[in-house]
């Protein structure tokens, strides 16, 4: 690829300076649009939608539970892609983006777990149930923690980037394996009763469709969460890039003196 051609593809952002300059410009858009979508979506959903026939007002939890669960998974997928880019093309921005995204994923997973547990309590009568979906998210939570812990434990940044990238790859395979294992583990005994009613509302594992009155505010909340994720990743990657620059400057200073 000629230099001119490369300059106009996504790879131009592998240059830290270009990344910082561009993200400075677009961040205000992402912050404000995320805020608007979230406020409108949540207010609409909380105040202006009816209760569900079976679940009463707890259906309102959907506006937080579904978007956060989606982002928890998408965040890991993004980390997987950026880890692969790091392993193949050695762009530091990519490795730093994966590192920056991980804590966002932790928070998303936590929100999904907590809202899932609280939602399930009136339905199941216990604060926690080993429903396959919730259990899979708990395992995902552990994967996130391990990933972050490994970044923190290794001193050399490039070594840390390499090791965490391989961990992300291997972890992804095992996360998928675990999903199937957990489904196997909890469907054999009780059909139906423990299938999360959230699935019924969102139409993801039954044939019921989400009625429009729930769908539009939910869609807006999902968009809001996505925009917030993008804003946070861009901002946090910028922070990581600057931190790396500080380390490089200090090293040069020590070498020169």
């Amino acid at each position: 690829m000629s230099i001119a051609a490369k300059a106009n593809t996504i790879w131009q952002y592998a240059n830290p300076k270009k990344f910082l300059a561009t993200s400075e410009r677009v961040l205000p858009f992402f912050w404000t649009s995320a805020a608007i979508c979230l406020v409108v979506g949540l207010v609409w959903g909380f105040f202006f939608t009816p209760d569900d026939f079976r679940q009463g007002s707890t259906v309102k939890i959907i506006y937080l539970h579904v978007p956060s669960a989606l982002m928890a998974i998408n965040c890991w997928l993004m980390m997987l892609v950026t880890s692969l880019v790091w392993l193949v093309r050695r762009h530091h921005v990519s490795a730093l983006a994966a590192r920056a995204a991980a804590p966002i994923g932790v928070v998303m997973t936590l929100i999904a777990l907590i809202t899932g547990a609280i939602w399930g309590q009136p339905m199941w009568g216990t604060w926690w149930a080993w429903d396959p979906r919730l259990t899979s998210f708990l395992i995902l939570f552990l994967f996130y923690l391990g990933y972050i812990a490994l970044w923190e434990a290794i001193e050399d940044p490039d070594t840390a980037a390499d090791l965490t990238s391989v961990l992300c790859l291997v972890g992804s395979v095992f996360a998928i394996l675990s999903r199937y294992a957990v489904n196997f583990w909890n469907q054999g005994l009780h059909q139906g009763a423990s299938v999360m009613r959230a699935g019924a509302v969102t139409g993801t594992d039954t044939t019921e469709k989400v009625s429009n009155v729930f769908f539009y505010p939910l869609f807006l909340c999902i968009i809001g969460f996505v925009l917030l994720f993008i804003a946070l990743v861009l901002y946090r990657t910028g922070t990581e890039i600057r931190a790396r620059r500080i380390r490089a400057l200090l090293a040069r200073e020590r070498a020169g003196a």
Partner: protein
């Protein structure tokens, strides 16, 4: 390769090599469970397959950080990396040595511990079978975790945090085989899944472990 295997086995058997510690730990865990949940025999009988699997898994975990740390410290790992033997083969041999010294004794000792926990009659065969099929995966996955944390001073705890989520599929299917076997039910599906996971990890994970080891040896 055989030479490396024999060397690792000899090192593990020596005094201070940690051989047998896994078994003792397994015994202690098995003894502690009735104290924790009460001595009613039908309760113990129903949880026995799972508890025994969990005990075996934790005992395997214990000996993992010694797997590579000693060779790392005295420079043997650097030598092995430059030897004509590919690093993937080296890590596979290390995993095999770990299984022979830790996993295999657990498989053989499990029936004795099953007696302590009132494991139902038909369960003994399936417990041993599931452990025999599943523990090699534990060794191979554990070797990957050991390779990730080999350079770290306090790597043991981090090693557990990284490896335990990776153990979940093997644990689920392994314990399911043991449980179904104890109840006299069909064990085909989980056993196949268990075997599939073990074979896949043996075939593929050494590449990841070797890559990680190369990074750490840079």
């Amino acid at each position: 390769m055989i030479a490396l295997l024999l060397r690792d086995l000899k090192l593990a058997m020596r005094a201070g090599g940690g051989f047998g510690l896994g078994l003792v730990f397994f015994l202690i865990v098995t003894t502690l469970v009735p104290f924790a949940v009460g001595p009613q025999s039908d309760l113990l009988a129903s949880i026995a397959p799972g508890v025994l699997w969990l005990g075996a898994l934790l005992a395997c975990l214990l000996s993992l950080d010694r797997l590579l740390a000693l060779d790392w410290e005295d420079g043997t790992l650097d030598l092995l990396a430059t030897a004509p033997l590919p690093l993937e083969a080296v890590v596979s041999v290390k995993a095999l040595a770990h299984w022979i010294t830790t996993g295999l004794p657990l498989v053989l000792a499990a029936p004795v511990f099953g007696v302590l926990l009132n494991l139902p009659g038909p369960g003994f065969f399936w417990l041993v079978a599931s452990l025999a099929v599943g523990t090699p995966a534990l060794s191979v996955v554990g070797t990957f975790g050991a390779a990730l944390t080999v350079g770290l001073k306090r790597g043991g705890l981090l090693l557990s945090l990284l490896v335990l989520p990776l153990y979940v599929p093997t644990l689920i299917f392994g314990a399911e085989v043991a449980r179904r076997g104890a109840q006299g039910m069909e064990t085909g599906t989980p056993l196949l899944m268990l075997g599939g996971i073990t074979l896949a990890t043996i075939a593929l994970l050494p590449f990841a472990s070797a890559a990680v080891l190369r990074v750490n040896l840079r």
